[in-house]
């Protein structure tokens, strides 16, 4: 069963919608900033982040807003954008044939910190607001989105850290294949907090050497890369079956050809090339494509020493030098649960604009990446099929194939 993307919405460190984000990518801008206030945290060496600019959430009624943390706010706005583009702002998206699949890495870290700080200070729950829990529960993001748009339908909240939203899209694609649903609204969101940086910092995977040069931080595939930079944001896509689109007269933007997720079960933080390869092969098989059909690979490449090297070697093993590769993390930072959807959206935009966004800060490719066709300058290219990778702690691997309309 053919599945198409009909709507996209995003808030990123480069813009408050998909258009401004893509403009920022084409202009090769960086959303990364120095956070001097993070220097006070003992043991935290990475003081970099890529925040989303201030946005207007007041269009959402207070009754829905009161239980939202920043990640839910951004996911709600992204969902509204996606539904608007898909022309699904009427009652038709509220149906037992629709499924929302969204998640985040965890509940709101800002709220968790405030909640436990007060809990410990007061020796109990005295003074806690009733709405605090709704900001930290595991399905906070989709539940708040549903509340904001008055959604009545099926809802799932998978959580797999940095592969959350790519997994949501692939799971959506799988469930659409079953015929149980006509439409999936898939995505993910995360909010910037020093705790997110510290999670990577403690395993030596966050950038430390560029605190005074934030625009040069996050250097996927570069020999001087020293780790990722955490960011925040939300990405949401509306995916619909061919029959559903035909019935309602929707406009497809691109096809979700297939995808796969695969856990290597070997190490919590070290990525496995073998599992990456298996995931990409599964995704290609499900899409009915060969490696030679892929015109561009949107790599996960976050700028970590081990992860980038493993992904580069795996891509080289599978695709050789024939397929152009780039990563968007040098521009956007790593938005964790949002990155898969945001990168899928950028992939659709690259397909539609016939251009490949290069990897920012890739000044000197690492020796281990020299076997790849690394895109370092904006490159015009007609793209029929794009493979987008995302990997996460816990041995999570996802690969998604997005194709041009034929």
């Amino acid at each position: 069963m053919k599945v198409y993307i009909t709507g996209m919405g995003a808030l990123t460190s480069l813009g408050l919608d998909t258009h401004s984000t893509f403009e920022g990518l084409l202009e090769n801008r960086s959303g990364i900033q120095h956070f001097p206030e993070w220097e006070k945290y003992n043991g935290l060496h990475s003081h970099l982040g890529a925040p989303v600019a201030p946005y207007d959430i007041m269009k959402v009624p207070r009754s829905a807003r009161r239980s939202m943390s920043r990640m839910s706010e951004m996911a709600t706005l992204a969902t509204m954008q996606a539904l608007g583009q898909a022309d699904l702002t009427d009652e038709s998206c509220h149906s037992e044939r629709t499924l929302i699949i969204m998640g985040s890495t965890s509940g709101s870290p800002h709220t968790l910190e405030a909640y436990f700080k007060q809990l410990f200070e007061r020796g109990g729950p005295q003074g806690q607001l009733s709405t605090s829990f709704f900001k930290v529960m595991n399905h906070s993001v989709p539940a708040n989105v549903a509340s904001a748009i008055g959604y009545r339908g099926a809802l799932l909240s998978p959580s797999s850290a940095c592969s959350t939203s790519s997994q949501a899209m692939i799971l959506g694609w799988e469930l659409l294949q079953t015929g149980l649903y006509d439409r999936v609204i898939a995505g993910g969101a995360d909010e910037l907090h020093y705790m997110s940086a510290s999670i990577f910092d403690i395993v030596l995977a966050a950038s430390r050497n560029f605190n005074n040069r934030p625009q040069q931080a996050s250097r996927p595939f570069d020999k001087d890369r020293d780790g990722l930079v955490v960011s925040e944001g939300a990405g949401v896509l509306v995916m619909e079956t061919e029959a559903c689109i035909a019935k309602r007269g929707g406009l497809p933007l691109a096809e979700v050809k297939g995808g796969a997720y695969f856990c290597d079960g070997s190490h919590m933080s070290q990525s496995s090339g073998e599992a990456m390869q298996k995931t990409m092969e599964l995704a290609l098989a499900r899409a009915g494509l060969k490696t030679s059909d892929i015109d561009y690979i949107n790599a996960h490449a976050t700028g970590t020493l081990q992860g980038d090297a493993e992904e580069a070697m795996t891509i080289e093993r599978l695709f050789g030098r024939e397929t152009p590769v780039s990563s968007l993390k040098g521009n956007l930072g790593h938005s964790l649960a949002a990155c898969g959807a945001v990168e899928a959206i950028a992939s659709v935009q690259m397909i539609k604009n016939e251009v490949i966004v290069p990897t920012r800060n890739l000044d000197n490719p690492d020796a281990v990446c020299l076997g790849l066709d690394l895109v370092r300058e904006k490159r015009a290219k007609k793209l029929s099929h794009v493979l987008s990778n995302n990997f996460a702690f816990g041995g999570m691997n996802t690969s998604l194939v997005i194709s041009a309309l034929t």
Partner: protein, 83 residues
């Protein structure tokens, strides 16, 4: 009713629940007129306690229907009736 209490409560209702000041009259019903639900009622209690620095028994909320009832609740909390 002590106007200082009315002002403090109204300020809280305006800032905490975004209720326009012109709607903050003693006869306004919390649910029907001001749009507050059970979660808001609990949070109103928390805000009141924080603002007043005094504990309010949650059960007393069961009898609060109007904004005027909130004024009375606050007044009685700050100056408990003498026996």
């Amino acid at each position: 009713m002590d106007q200082a209490i009315v002002s403090r409560v109204n300020e809280l209702m305006h800032q905490g629940f975004e209720i326009p000041t012109e709607n903050l009259i003693a006869t306004a019903r919390l649910k029907e007129d001001l749009g507050l639900d059970s979660l808001d009622a609990v949070d109103m209690l928390v805000h009141l306690e924080e603002k007043l620095g005094s504990r309010i028994e949650g059960e007393r909320l069961m009898h609060v229907k109007t904004l005027g009832d909130v004024y009375v609740l606050v007044q009685e909390t700050l100056t408990p009736p003498t026996v």
